[in-house]
Symmetry: C2
Subunit: 338 residues, 2 copies
């Protein structure tokens, strides 16, 4: 027995497009292994506006169209109309993050849950700014609010707890969570200046046009906050993360460290305090090469959890955008099979 | 609402005792977070025989008793009597492995499932020799057959699939899974002869009195087989794993490699073949220091999964016996909350 779900996708950039591509590639497997099929009945982006068609868009054609434009005549007035005309069972939120407010992603997810759809986010903003409210709303409506892609793409860092690791005590964690900083530091070790290393990271598609979000540690701080809120039950706010970026490191410092058998890495940390709170920080640290984190190159990211029963590290090796898209797909399966 | 489960434990060595200790330490948390309580109503070992008391043994007293002996008058005739008199809801199998047959652990688990109990094994033998049969029996009885502790202790390598990683293709994996070999190689790098390195590993409690199971690659081969059968749906037999131990490596070879910036590690591998089978091997490999596996010291173990959506490594840092005991406890929660 196959059940078909109507999907609504907000955001049709790299992640949104790769998600549609992956859903097409995995369609047969979803049918045979999970009894799931899907139609893309809602699509929204800044360029396209709000488009809905309960019959379903031609997903392959959308990917091939230069502007990714759905058929004309499918535009609706706004979020509410979009959810209702698309008859969405699941909303996928893949717009860009607004780190100060988490909007408009929070509004998208809230409206979806209120309309009776599952709410799945690759966007970190809603986790940092509205985790408890969205989780409670989802529970009240009998739907799922999931966000595995928000940190380390589709690597199951959120899904590990509590199912994979029930009844453990998570005392803290540290890790490398910002690809741009890691690429820039490696390129500086290899001889480039800070500015040229940033350009290189932009050329290979890791850094954004405005890389300050990464280089000032904001991206990493957002991820630490999301992890601490969800996994450590912290009431942490983004502004409470002690944050230093890599801008003030000179190429000379970075190369001198390397010559001494050490490496600078932008390390994220969170730790329970004796008072019951959580202290979190992001900043460059000088690591000896014997530290497993020191070895990680390029876009590779890692988290090392300090549990009461063992130490556990999870490493994501050189991920592409498909890794983020996969997190959305995995959350879809988890949501409808819960 | 608290539900109390009767537990029967086969094997009261290091793992069995640590399991009871951990269950006592986590008792309050199990009650408040999961609504679970427990009584140890069955205990069996070569020394103690089959002991059952439906009122429950005094678990703390068992740990303090020199021989860990339950009250006299609780001995019963054998496995069937033991399961029925203990009224067990869950069997924990923590006896030593018989790698040729998987017995008597398979009989314990089968009898438990047939008696309507969940069957939880820290023993790898039943996974290698009877995975499909025990899984089918469990499904037919509406019970769980779980074995997270069989590889990498309580680290959720089995539990990750499929819940944490639904719809992925696992093309293969490699890893370091034998602590003794890793400790011996490190000690040889540090200047000891092969024999002295083995003695050192025995002194620190990593290697057994007869370390040949580890040094000849059998322990690692058993783990690779279990992983391939469960995660890759392989019909692999233990004898089909291409297996070389570390016995033929000399201290000179190991130190010369280190001097050249490389390290010998006992590497486990499994890979899907184009024909649809799985090829598996265990053997010493010369790894460059840039390989994350090369850095792992001592009892640390690791698995690197080759998935179609990203590369994923999981590292267990310097585990103690509590890590194995935790796997049994986590399986208990998963079984009764499934």
């Amino acid at each position: 027995l196959i059940r078909t779900y109507n999907l609504a996708l907000a955001g049709f950039g790299n992640v949104g497009k790769e998600f549609v591509r992956l859903m097409l590639a995995k369609r047969q497997l979803l049918r045979t292994q999970y009894g799931i099929d899907w139609k893309l009945t809602g699509l929204a982006s800044r360029t396209l506006g709000w488009c809905a068609d309960p019959a379903g868009f031609d997903a392959s054609a959308l990917l091939e169209a230069p502007g990714g434009s759905p058929q004309p005549g499918t535009r609706v007035a706004g979020l509410q109309d979009w959810l209702s005309k698309s008859q969405a069972s699941v909303l996928f939120e893949a717009t860009s993050i607004n780190r100060e407010t988490g909007q408009p992603a929070i509004d998208h997810l809230r409206a979806a849950l209120e309309a009776g759809a599952h709410a799945i986010s690759a966007n970190k903003g809603p986790v940092v700014h509205a985790y408890h409210a969205l989780r409670e709303l989802a529970a009240a409506r009998g739907r799922q609010f999931l966000f595995e892609s928000a940190v380390m793409d589709g690597v199951p860092v959120f899904s590990l707890f509590p199912g994979g690791l029930p009844a453990v005590e998570l005392r803290g964690f540290r890790g490398l969570l910002n690809s741009t900083s890691n690429v820039v530091l490696t390129e500086m070790e290899n001889g480039l200046s800070f500015d040229d290393a940033v350009k290189k990271a932009q050329q290979i598609g890791v850094a954004e046009t405005d890389p300050s979000n990464d280089l000032e540690g904001w991206d990493a701080a957002v991820k630490v906050t999301a992890l601490a809120i969800v996994l450590m039950d912290a009431t942490l706010k983004l502004g409470e993360v002690e944050r230093t970026g890599i801008r003030n490191l000179t190429a000379e410092q970075v190369r001198a460290a390397r010559a001494e058998g050490k490496r600078y890495k932008l390390v994220c940390r969170a730790r329970k305090t004796p008072a019951g709170g959580v202290l979190a920080s992001v900043g460059p640290e000088l690591l000896p090469l014997s530290d497993p984190l020191a070895l990680l190159e390029g876009a590779t990211s890692a988290l090392q959890f300090d549990l009461d029963v063992f130490g556990l590290s999870i490493i994501e090796h050189k991920p592409g955008v498909v890794a983020t898209a996969y997190g959305l797909l995995a959350d879809f399966i988890r949501a409808v099979k819960a």
